[in-house]
């Protein structure tokens, strides 16, 4: 989750955003990542960052070609 947050902050920073409104991830069923654990990590990591009040949207990808993916697909930002 730390790397997702780092990437989101980097992308938002490049776009000179004021804050991150939301983060969207795609998570494969066989990615070896538990959704609840991911949400818990997000809650723990976001204070003090640009994503302090951001939502986390996780799209789960069922068994199949992309079942091992963990992907940051979009960052919604608010510009200053």
């Amino acid at each position: 989750m730390q790397s997702a947050l780092d990437l989101a902050v980097a992308a938002a920073g490049e776009g000179r955003a004021r804050r991150i409104v939301g983060i969207r991830l795609r998570l494969g069923e066989f990615a070896g990542v538990d959704v609840d654990a991911l949400r818990f990590a997000f809650e723990a990591l976001r204070p003090g960052t640009m994503a302090e009040s951001a939502y986390l949207d996780i799209e789960s990808v069922p068994a199949g070609r992309d079942a091992g993916c963990i992907e940051l697909t979009a960052v919604e930002v608010e510009d200053s």
Binding site: S3, L25, G32, T73, A74, E76, E78, D79
Partner: protein, 232 residues
């Protein structure tokens, strides 16, 4: 009704579309490691298993039996202590312990950093003993040539189907502690079926690192792979 289309207020919100794999950074470092291993003709093996399946004993036996013919280096990962490094020390092979603190796996960056402690040109085989964990290490390739998952009869038959990702990514499955199968009430037939289901492409060796039974076949295979990779 003038049919005016309501105007949407200019939003200050904007969506940045990305397509970044979160394993990218590790994958990049793993590719660097792989390149480094190839350049120095080092065959790297990543040993993964749950805690207590026998990785250290298997590696100890490997050092004892192949240490005369091959130049071997060992990296051992654990959350804490250098117990495993101590168990493997006292042989000719250099052993380096990585303590990960709270991290549940080794990643390619940690391996890269510890490679600085080795003279790769003086090695034929680099053994990496991952943190004992059947979940997280599956997601982090280290640049290895071979991924070996160890499971033991004392763990029961169903680890492969309970932790399918780990087994699906394995090249070799070592079924260890065969000497304890009967005492543990281990159903070998069921275990074989589940290993084949979870790891259909992996080679399986049934062995006991403690007694040495079945170890020769595994060592022969490994030596052949090392030889082929150097020849290729």
């Amino acid at each position: 009704m003038n049919g005016a289309i309501p105007t949407i207020p200019a939003g200050r919100h904007r969506t940045i579309q990305l397509q970044k794999s979160l394993l990218d950074r590790n994958a990049t470092l793993a590719a660097d490691n792989r390149e480094l291993f190839q350049r120095h003709r080092v065959f790297a093996v990543n040993f993964v298993s749950g805690p207590g399946a026998g990785k250290t004993a298997i590696i100890g036996r490997l050092l004892d039996e192949l240490g005369q013919r091959l130049r071997i280096g060992v990296i051992v990962g654990d959350l804490a202590t250098d117990n495993d490094a101590q168990r493997l020390a006292g042989r000719s092979a250099p052993v380096l312990q990585i303590t990960t603190g709270t991290l549940c796996h080794l990643d390619a960056g940690m391996v890269r950093k510890s490679l600085e402690q080795f003279r790769l040109e003086d090695l034929d085989l680099l053994i990496i003993e991952n943190v004992g964990n059947l979940v997280c290490p599956a997601g982090f390739e280290l640049g290895e040539s071979l991924r070996v998952v160890v499971t033991a009869t004392t763990e029961g038959e169903d680890k492969p189907v309970k932790y399918p990702v780990m087994f699906r990514t394995a090249d070799v499955v070592l079924l260890n502690k065969m000497d304890l199968a009967e005492v543990a009430g281990f159903d070998l037939h069921q275990a074989r079926r589940w290993i084949e289901l979870a790891a259909p492409h992996a080679l399986r060796f049934e062995m006991s690192a403690r007694t040495g039974a079945g170890v020769a076949e595994w060592h022969e295979y490994l030596e052949r792979r090392i030889h082929d990779s150097v020849a290729g």
